[in-house]
């Protein structure tokens, strides 16, 4: 009756063994659910996040354009993101949308910097 050997608290070991099995099952289940959640929510998040990022990129780009500082590359990124989104390529769309937002923000920063510091560019 080795399995009935007492532990240091003098509790029956059998109960511990069956408890460990249940715990292992629980762990397995937990990790399965976690991985499914992570992988599926990744693409769900991508789909949900593209539109706001794109909208932000468009708004920021329009602000830079109004100041005459639009870059030639940004609108193409936005168009690429829109096309990818329409084709269901959510990861690609998210990547392009983020790149567009990054560029739009930089061009607006450039415009604002130029407004305040254009004299720094005079090499005289």
């Amino acid at each position: 009756m080795a399995h009935l050997r007492g532990n240091k608290f003098n509790m029956p070991v059998m109960a511990k063994v069956s408890g460990e099995k249940a715990m292992n099952k629980c762990r397995l289940l937990f990790f399965m659910v976690l991985s499914i959640t992570l992988f599926s929510s990744g693409s769900l998040y991508a789909g949900a996040a593209v539109e706001p990022i794109l909208e932000d990129a468009r708004t920021t780009l329009n602000k830079a354009a109004a100041k005459g500082f639009e870059w030639t590359t940004t609108r193409k990124l936005i168009e690429g993101a829109e096309i990818a989104l329409a084709a269901g390529e959510k990861d690609k769309s998210l990547k392009l949308a983020k790149a567009a937002l990054n560029e739009a923000e930089k061009s607006l920063t450039q415009a604002n910097y130029a407004e305040a510091h254009w004299r720094a560019g005079i090499p005289l």
Binding site: A65, G68, F69, E70, W71, T72, T73, R75, E103, S107, Q110, Y113, A114, W118, R119, G121, I122, P123, L124
Partner: protein, 292 residues
């Protein structure tokens, strides 16, 4: 005793406030009553001195020739090209267009001083009534519209030909572009700001290429000095294989640094042309000309 001290303190504070407000209003007055003519003259002196120092062996009058003023190898090729000037056809075409009557029987000669002959050096100028800079190309289209004709496209084609013909009648006259009032000074300042502001994904300003690294290689090309840029326009450019206006060149420059070009003859490019022309005051008109 305490009351007296308090009154003295209050008096000092009020006096301080009065002095401060006087200084502030004096500052505001100085801002509005700025001596813009002196500032423009100083800008011209500084701008031209920069190139004199940079290319000490180049005569001032040579800057009308763009990069060919500072690069011997390019100059030799250009002089050979000038034996059979590629812009001559445009001058002939421009002359025909210039003398052809509009539907109402009038011609371009009715719109311009001196019948449009020898007036290129006065453009761009500031129209105080309209509150904007008028370039030669804009004046040509204004003339067309005033006579019931459709405006022409601004970058190339018939408008470049008309501009080429009008420039050819002004050969040898010197640029004398004025900044006559504060509204004009504002347009001049906007052009100046455009010239020195960095833009595009490459973060370059006009001054970066055409002042700081003028005469050096950007990829395979040697950049031209900004002094004298407008004198030779419109130009036949080998890359275009046709004539083009200054604003077409501005758009090309902007694209090169990955900045979206602004509209030809829009306010921004006109103000830029205004600033550049003022900086080139004293140089001869030698348009149309040819460029790489």
């Amino acid at each position: 005793m305490g009351l007296v001290r308090h009154k003295i303190k209050t008096g000092i504070m009020l006096l301080g406030l009065f002095v401060f407000s006087c200084m502030a209003s004096a500052d505001a007055g100085a801002e509005s009553g700025v001596d813009f003519k002196a500032m423009v003259q100083q800008d011209i002196r500084d701008f031209q001195a920069y190139f004199k120092k940079r290319f000490s062996s180049v005569e001032f009058s040579e800057y009308k020739n763009g990069v060919y003023a500072i690069d011997t190898a390019s100059r030799e090729q250009w002089l050979e090209m000038e034996d059979f000037p590629p812009y001559e056809f445009a001058v002939d075409e421009g002359e025909e267009l210039f003398t052809a009557p509009f539907t109402n029987g009038k011609t371009y000669t009715d719109c311009f001083a001196n019948g449009g002959e020898g007036v290129r050096q006065n453009y761009p100028n500031f129209d105080s009534k309209k509150g904007e800079v008028i370039t030669l190309e804009l004046a040509i289209n204004n003339c067309r519209q005033a006579n019931g004709e459709k405006p022409l496209a601004y970058k190339k084609g018939p408008l470049a030909a008309l501009s080429a013909y009008m420039a050819s009648t002004s050969a040898g006259k010197t640029f004398a572009v004025a900044v006559p009032n504060e509204a004009a000074f504002q347009a001049y300042k906007d052009g100046k700001k455009f010239f020195y502001a960095k833009r595009g994904q490459l973060n370059f300003s006009c001054a970066d290429c055409h002042m700081r690294v003028a005469g050096q290689k950007l990829r395979a090309d040697i950049t031209s000095p900004a002094l004298g840029h407008p004198t030779g326009f419109p130009v036949y450019r080998s890359k275009w294989e046709e004539m083009g206006t200054l604003h077409r060149r501005y758009a090309g420059c902007n694209k090169n640094i990955r900045a979206k070009p602004l509209p030809a003859q829009g306010r921004a490019y006109r103000n830029l042309e205004y600033f550049q022309s003022v900086m080139s005051n004293g140089l001869e008109i030698n348009g149309p000309s040819s460029r790489k």
